[in-house]
Symmetry: C2
Amino acid sequence: MKQKIGRQNVLYPMPVTIVAALVQGRVNFINIAHVGILNAAAPHLITLGMHTMHHTNAGIRENKTFSVNILSEGKMVEMDYVGLVSGRETDKSRVFETFFGELKTAPIIKDCPVSMECRLIDIYDTGTHDIFIGEIVGTYVDDAVLTSGRVDLAKVKPLLFDMGTRRYWTLGAAIGECWSAGKALIST
Amino acid sequence: MKQKIGRQNVLYPMPVTIVAALVQGRVNFINIAHVGILNAAAPHLITLGMHTMHHTNAGIRENKTFSVNILSEGKMVEMDYVGLVSGRETDKSRVFETFFGELKTAPIIKDCPVSMECRLIDIYDTGTHDIFIGEIVGTYVDDAVLTSGRVDLAKVKPLLFDMGTRRYWTLGAAIGECWSAGKALIST
């Protein structure tokens, strides 16, 4: 039996990220899972859907740069913490260690196994949220999470987010190959 | 040790969806994992990043409606199949059973435990991809995947996608509460 449950967004789980930016010269972090991938072509474009009330938004507008970092399960507490307190009142700059890449103003989280350095190319305005559209200009990964030169999610151990039950989930096993599993149904 | 691996998009895993639309009067399906969430406010807005070559794009433009469906693991083969063949050459209308909701022109997949009926409100153009921005106007769920009235991902058993290794992944366990796990770090 199906039921209609109003107009809920149930596009979950989504990958949890930690977004880092400089805000008035200080490194700041926020967790964001309302992200998106726009294309599979260069330049690679991704989105962050961030309520306009957040302190980090000002820094992204100021420098037009930010980083998007994928954490491992072991950093769940720190990741959740940076979403609980605002950089307006709390200095979060030491929660994670950072370094700078080619953009010079986008702090990249050393403690995250996978990071993307982004240049802000556009802002889509929904009224309540700034949708920051970033071009990926540099991707940094820990050797330890690579298998045959590719990022191996089984080694990354990312977290996923679900607004329905407001929980963080781990990743399970890989069970199929894309553009392959369905070949059995192609009539010859 | 960190290494820079060019400008790769590593914002994975992303949730796998099946998008359904009417194209010239016929139901068509395609799998899309390059999705996004723009906001956490009404109207709820989500994005689909779809290469302009896809047949489904014409139907979304034609009717200004579509549905986004979350499948369970058991439908992996059918889901992968609808991404392997184009509706231009192949009638995929019977791969899944559908019904219509309030928009009348957005087929909703009965075999998927969670579905969102969407109205197209804007198209963001990246050159190679149409970014369809949809407003969620109706959410349909199977009773079987609800726990205390909320969608329970442990029951949905969604699939996740990763472009790095091009595999489908299952969901693991829930290991933490959002806006809670980090409270231990708030200094009192």
